[in-house]
Every structure is written in C-alpha cells, then in structure tokens.
Amino acid sequence: MGSTGETLRNLLTLAWLLPLIGFLVEIYALCWTHRLSKAPAYLAVGCIAAGFVCSFTALMTWGVQTDWVVFQSTHHDEHHEGDHHGEQHHADEHDAETAHVAEPAKTDEHHKHAEKAVASAPADALAATHADHAAEHGDGHSEEHAAKPTVFAGTFYNLGSFGPLKISLDWYIDSLTLVMFTMVTFIATCIHIFAMGYMQDELTEDYVDHEVHLANHEHFHRPGRFYRFFSFLSLFCFSMLGLVLAGNIFQVFIFWELVGVCSYLLIGFYVERKSASTAANKAFIMNRVGDFGFLIGLMIIWTSLGTFQFFDSVDAEGHTSQVGLFHLIRGTTGEMQLSADGQQVLLQNEVGELLTAGENLRSIPYWLLVTAGLGIFAGCIGKSAQFPLQTWLPDAMEGPTPVSALVHSATMVAAGVYLAGRFYPVFTPEVLLVIAYIGCITLFLAATIAVVATDIKKVLAYSTISQLGYMMLGIGVGGWGAGLFHLVTHAFFKSLLFLCSGSVIAGCHHEQDMRKMGGLWKKMPITAATMLVGVIAIAGLAIPGSQAVLGETFAFSGFHSKDAIVATALAYTKLNAVHGLLFLAPLVTAGITAFYMFRLWFMTFAGAPQDEHVYDHAHENPAVMTGPLLVLSLLAATCAIGGESGPLYKLLALSEAVPAGASTAPSSPVTIVLPTHGQVHAVHATAGKFALLAAGLGTLVAYLLYCRKALNPAEIGRQFSGVYGFLVDKWRFDELYDFLFVKPAHSVGRWCQGFDKVVLDGVLHGASSLVMLVSTWDRWFDERMIDGLVNLVGQVTGQAGRSLRVVQTGHLRQYVMWIAVGVVVLFAALFTALPK
C-alpha cells in the first residue's frame, strides 16, 4: 500500500488510541492522585487535541498524496464536475486497492469490464447514465490520477479465523474517514475545553446535587466526579474514532456498541438521579433494538458473502485473498449484476469479474441483500434516533450539556448516518427508499415536537433528530454527498448550539426552561451572538441574490448542505412522482426548523426577562467556555463555504462509492430511479429558492410570535389543545412502547419465572410426592392390602376346610399366607407366560 498508507494509518491510529490511553490514565491513576485537580481534564484535552493534530496532518498528507484532486476540477462546469467526481473516484478507489499490484494495463481492463457490466445491466432506466459513465471512462480524465490511490486499507490484527472465514480488526481510510476524524477530533477538542469550565463545580469533595431529593428532604451530597467525566469523554472519543476508522462492518458494530455504552455512561453520569439512569438504560436498550437489526444484517452478510471487510485483502504474494464487500456487490463500476430472473445478485471480484463457486456463479438472493440492508439500517435508526426509535434521544439530555453536544448531536448520533453512507454500496434501491421515508417521517415528526418543547436542550435534541432525518433522507434519495455534507455541517452548528445552550444553562444556574428566560442577550452577549450564528446556520437562511454578487450564495453552512438535500429530493421526486412527499416534507420542515430555532433564540435572549430570579443571577461565562463558542461559530458559518463546489463537499464526494443514479431496480414491486448529479444540479436553483422561502417564512412567524408578540403563543396552544397536547406528549410514543413492549416483556418474564416454579419444578415436586405416595402406598399395601387378601383367602380356606372360628388377622399369619399366595400367583403367571 505504500508508505502513504502506513503514514495515514499510523497517524490515525495514534489519534484513535490517544484518548484510550488518556482514559486509562484518568480512571486508574489520576482518580487517586488528582481527584480535585484539573489534571484529568488537561490530559483529556491534550489527548484529543493531539488527536486533532494527527488527524489534520493525516488529511494534509492525504491531500498531498492525491495531489489535491479536490481542488482541481473547478475548471469544469458544475454539471460535469458532479458526474466526474463519481467516476473518477471509482477509478481511484479501484487503483488504490490494487496499487501495489502495479499492473499498468489494469485501467484498460477495468474499462472493459465496465463496458461489459453496462452491456449486461438490465435496468433500462439507467442506460443513459451508464452510457455517460462509460464514455467518461473513455475520455481519459480519470487516468491522470490513476496512480494516486485515495483509499488505503489494511488489517490490524486477527480476531478469529475459521477455515476461509476471517474476522479481523481493519482500518479503512478514505476522504470520508479523514473528514470525520478531523471533524470529530476538532469538535471534541472544543467541547473538552468548554467542559473544563462547565464541569467546574464538580471539582469539590462535597458536591450537592439539587436534582436529587433524599427521604429526609435534603439534597444529595457526594464527592465531585470531575475526573470521571473526562475519562468517560476520552473513552467515548476512542470509541467514536474507532468506529470511523473501522475497516469492516463487524468492527463498526464493535465500536457501535462501545459508543453506545459510553453514551450510556455519560447520560447516566448523575447516577443518583433516577431520571438519568433510566434515560441511560432507555438509550442503551433502544440502541440495542436497532442493533438487533444490525446483527441480522451482519448475519446475512457474513453468511452470504463470507466477509465483513470493506476492502479487498491481499495475501503475502500480492494476490487478492478475499474480495471486499463493496467490490463483491458493486464490482468496479458501482453497478450490481443481477441474474437473468433478477432474483439473485451476482458477486463480482476486484476487477469486476463474476465470481464462481464450482460451476455456479456465486450470488446472493436479492431479497436477502434487501434484508441485510434494512438490518444494517435498523442499527442506524437506533443510533441516529430515527423513527420509530427516536424517543431515547430527548431523554438522553439528562447527561451534562457537553455530552449532549459531543455525543448526542455532533458525533455519535451522526454515526448512524455515517454508517448509512459508508455502507451505501450494499444498499439496494428498496433499502434506500426505506431510508428516505424513515428520514422523511423523522424530520417532520421531530420538528413538530420541537415546536412545543420548552426545555432548551430538548428543543435542540428534537432539532438534532430532525436534522438527522434530513441526512437520512438525503442518502435515501441518492444524495450521498448531500447527506454526509449535512452531517459535517450539522456537527459544527449543532455542537455550537448545544454549547451555547450549555453556556446559558451554566449562566442561569442550571435552569433549562426557556419560559423562565428571556432578554439574556444583555447578560450573555457572546453566547447570544454565537448562538444566533448557529440558529441562522441551522435555519438555512441566506441572503437572496448574493449569488449574483459574490459568485455564490452567501450563507452559513446549514443552508448549503440542506439545500443540497432538498435539491436531491426534488430531483428524486421529479423522477419518481409517486414519492412527492419526500420533497414536500423536508421543504415544510425547513420552515418549521427555522421557526422553532428562532423561537428558541427569541425566547431565550430577546424580549423581556420572564423570571427575575433567573435573570438577576445570570452571567456570561469565562473565556474557557466562550472561546470554544467563538471558534465553533466561525466554523459553523464557514465550513461549507462554496457549497457543492466548495472543498468540503468535494472532499467528501471523492469517497462516493456508487455513482449517483447507479442502481438497478429489478422485478421488485417498487420501481425507483435515482437522480444523477446532473439531474440534481438542474433543479438546484429551484430547490434552493423554495427552501429559502420556507426558512424565511418560519423565521418571520417566529419573529412575529415570540419577538413582536403579535400573537400569544399560549393562546394558540389552548386553541389547538388537542394537537398541542399530542405534540407535548411527543406523539405518545413512550406510552405506546411501554404498552407494546416493556410491559409485555415483564409479563413474559414473570410467566417464564412462573413456568419454572409451577410447571418444571411442579413436575419434579409432583414426581417426588408421587414417589412418596407410592412409598406410603407400599406401606399401606403391606399393612392393609395383604391383610385384606389374606383375610379373604383365610376365610375361604376356613369355610371350605373345617369350621373355624371367625378368622382374626395377625401379621405373622398373613406373611406366611403370602408364601402360599405367592406360589400360586407366580405359578399362574408362569403358566400364562410360558409357551403352551
């Protein structure tokens, strides 16, 4: 793989493992020596900051290695560019993995296969794309970078191997990995620094938890747990980075669970609070429900494809020993190969040839692939809190605010989207449709709840769910780049928003209810300003017409990424008119988003103070907290600069494994056509206008309601009390799940318990009492039955023989009698048994 690969691996591994080392030191050394100092925090910040440096260096190294391909295609017009990236990437990726094989003729071969693939592709709907695709390959554009791999992968070590089946810990580095690494480490660094201020009050031997009321009406006292907070954060960073670095889906699952448990630990950081530990449990168990699906997906992949690896592993001689998942399903061109009846997906190797097993072609049933995709996506649903598993995320706000910022908005919950993106090549169009609809439902549902939420963190939590829905929708409608683009921008502005809310909460002495705030901008100007940046970013506001002046639309990051999603959705809806909802919902929700975000800002910072007590004690926070806010607001504003022609998008798009529009819709009941880059671009401007309009409307309504008080929101709530209550109750999902799952599970548990006690043990006890019964019966038989029998015989004998007095029984005589009876009975038995 060459030295670049090793350099990247080493840098990222270092970035990955540093937090783990930090965790171990914090939990096992500093907890004893530095419980009350900030040393654990310094260590954690040091580790994660060093990780950021490593990640950034790696990004630069990768850029140098790839000759900054990201920035080179700006001469092309945009239409071309979009398509081009997809194609180019394939060539690159393909070359990357086989670079060390160093076959000069390979590219040609590759093209040949590509053409063959096109010829055999059954889906006519995409024929145009294919032709386009093939032509692109022929035009030589991609060849200038042919020798510059953009994907690097390899194996750390083996977890277990069973004959030809191998499970290992791998690494897989492409631009997506690098962007994620840089983003995660950067945001994490900011949040760590912020947390040093936020968690300050834990630096004590006697921390009073005002949320916990003891039986004697006192508050709960305990030693501070500053060090523990940072150790958990470090552990989380390790897990999250591991998830991103993972080179196979099984490894993703491993870290998937680990981030889950870190989230559990951090949500339940205040273990004394019942609500916190319950929320932690809920988060973990809801995630496990998703993981159940994930596991099914894993089983199918493992059994049908025999590998978990994303990439092709190479043996010592340089031959491919195991074709990776992506090539197995998509070959080199990004196309699936279907059998004639469309029921089987044929497996391909690293040069696009069909694989054989004996005389048959190796294949996986189409429905299984769909199921696998749905299974994996179920994991994403759980992790990213999508409908119907969205209920855990709002509760997860029980954790300290930096946790919400890092884990429950910027990184972990986005891992679901990341995985959906990473695993995109394995998804069939049906799966994508499901993803799109799930995203669509989620984004609307969460946004509606956010409208009525009054807890500042809960609003942000619902907004997170909603935004994650956008990302899912983007991926589902074929906008791979758009979805992940939104992931990154969202990470910045949402972590900013959460930190701002944290700043507010800290400034207001742990008051989270927005109804008690208001007018805080005077007290906390920096927080207010930075939060406004975040709100504008998430609302997707832009300055109309600025494109004409600046060459591109002037807007903060959220506009660009949401625009990309909405545009893709529009293009998709145009191609698949049945699914019009997929465009309408995000459009409407864009407006709602703007509404509730500005509602939040207005309620908090604008207007008159609602609660004097809160207001009087509110204060701006020290620099250690506001500093990160400023840095993040800068990035939230600018990270997406250039939109889809900007560096970030292009960097991401370089990792797109499947060309936009490439898919096959076989004989399944749903026929889906995915838009190409060109088709998306064609509607981009229209979509952008719609989206901006919606956002503007939302902002306006919010302004009128909450700033100008043109209408009384409470009055509206009363008028629509049914809907209002329904939304306040979060669409009553918790009650539903409690009724459908939790209670039945406990009942079944009790039944099992009862079955053990009543039936199984009952059988045993019954058997033993039966034995006892027989035993006493034996005794009774001895005493009575024989007596009776003997009496009878004795009477008969007596009457037949001589006249005896009334026979009185006695044991001994009965015993003796039994000798005679025994002989007679046995003789009779013998006579019946013996051959006549």
Binding site: E783, G810, H811, R813, V816, A820
Partner: protein
C-alpha cells in the same frame, strides 16, 4: 385305581402339604403354626420316600427324608425356644399380639 401307586402317595403328601400351609396361615397359636410346619415338611418327606420307592431316585430319597426329619427336630427345638421367649415377653403365645414391628 385298584393298586396303591405313586400317585396315591403324592396325593396324600400334597394334602399334608396343603393342610400344613393352611394350618400355618390360620392358627393364632404359635405352637399350632409350628405344627403346620411339621405337616409341610412331612408332606415333602412322604414325597421323597414315595419317589425313592417308585423311581430311580432310590436310596437318595430315603436318606434325604432322614436328614429332613433330623432337621425338622432341630428347627422345632429352636422354634419352641423362640416361642417361649415370645411368651416371656408378651405373656401370650398368640402371634397376632406381636405387631410391634410394622411399616
């Protein structure tokens, strides 16, 4: 059935045997039971002697009968001693009174 043959002896012996068994079973008196035992043994003895006379068993049968008589005597001695002992403890020879051991 003019002549007295083997079967006649056997029949008598069988009757003795049955009488003995019935006696053992219905008598309450310990001594009575022992008499029943003697009847049984003597029934068998009669068999043996008869067989000795009528079949190839020959002298063997008679010798056996002799031994049995001796044994019966020994057995009777022991049995009487035990009966006496029983009487000492229970002040009766009614075997039905001995039902302390059961279950």
């Amino acid at each position: 059935m003019d002549t007295v043959g083997l079967n006649s002896y056997l029949l008598v012996a069988a009757m003795l045997f049955v009488c003995g068994v019935v006696c053992m079973a219905v008598k309450r008196n310990g001594i009575g039971i022992l008499m029943g035992v003697e009847l049984v043994l003597n029934g068998a003895n009669l068999n043996l002697v008869a067989f000795a006379r009528y079949t190839v068993l020959g002298l063997d049968g008679q010798v056996m009968a002799l031994f049995v008589i001796v044994l019966a005597a020994a057995e009777a001695a022991i049995a009487l001693a035990i009966a006496l002992n029983f009487y000492n403890n229970h002040l009766t020879i009614d075997v039905d009174r001995g039902s302390e051991l059961q279950g």
